[in-house]
Symmetry: C2
Subunit: 142 residues, 2 copies
DNA sequence: ACGGATCGTAACTATGATTGTTACAGAAGA
DNA sequence: TCTTCTGTAACAATCATAGTTACGATCCGT
């Protein structure tokens, strides 16, 4: 299975909201920028709302807006919010416990994987939605 | 799609081969330790052979054996060998080029993702198959 | 030379995650 | 009250992965 695009789409959404803090944006509008279906956007926004990054307003003239400083939202926060799993997966079936390697390989790998993930997370925590917004704006040709 | 288990299985295989360097192991034998089908094992061993980590001997009394020092094979090498993709995926459909954020978000993300991957790879390069083997052996109860 | 054991690989199925889509009830401003 | 949105369920479409069967090619040991 390919890696999910949720993390990327969530960052796209948050960057878009960060660049339009004056008025709420509808899932329909966001979907046109991302080039997908509004329901996909609402699903992701629901996850981001759970973490308090955005809030929604139903009804006419409703929509979504950012409720935190873009520089306070790190990419590590966003990754956690959208449930991106570990980049490492163990065996789908448990290995053979009668084999010394089979019996112990998962325990040996668990620590290595956890530390590798921590390393990556620490790196992602050094970039924020604000960083992304500035990077995007610096590239635009008006 | 969930993350693939190829990396984990490849490490399991290599650790098993490293612990049995005296005689070749058959895909059948390895499959019993991993608890899967021999063809799955042969497919992975084929990828590992391309990188020169293992070699195979067809025919009666054939099988597979390690051709490199376990301490010379890093987890980063193995990960590359089995084609684990990036943990980050871009949009499946290109975002809207008429939107300033849509037009530039991928360029902004590319660098961040590449650097995060490099960080993780650098970390994985610090552990080897030899490390894993010793970790596994230290846990075994004879 | 034969027989059995193994690799090498194609082809197909099964499974599961993700994404996209339709549909519709509820909420809220104008 | 009408229109515009959210919120969410239900379902279809797509795709990667893993598992399985099958079978030809290879090679050791006798």
């Amino acid at each position: 299975m390919g890696t999910s695009t949720r993390f990327t789409i969530a960052l796209h959404i948050l960057t878009l909201l960060a660049s339009n803090r004056a008025q709420p944006l509808t899932s329909e509008y966001i979907a046109r920028s991302v080039n997908t279906n509004p329901v996909v956007i609402r699903r992701l926004l629901g996850l981001l709302r759970k973490r308090g990054f955005v809030s929604s307003q139903p009804g006419n003239r409703g929509g979504w807006h950012l409720t935190e400083d873009p520089d306070a939202i790190t990419l590590a926060d966003v990754r956690r919010a959208v449930n991106e799993g570990s980049p490492f997966a163990m065996h789908s079936q448990p290995p053979n416990p009668a084999c010394p390697v089979g019996r112990n390989i998962q325990a040996a790998l668990t620590g290595v994987y956890a530390e590798a993930e921590r390393t990556m997370e620490a790196h992602l925590a050094r970039t924020t939605v604000g960083t992304l917004l500035r990077s995007v704006l610096a590239r635009r040709r008006k």
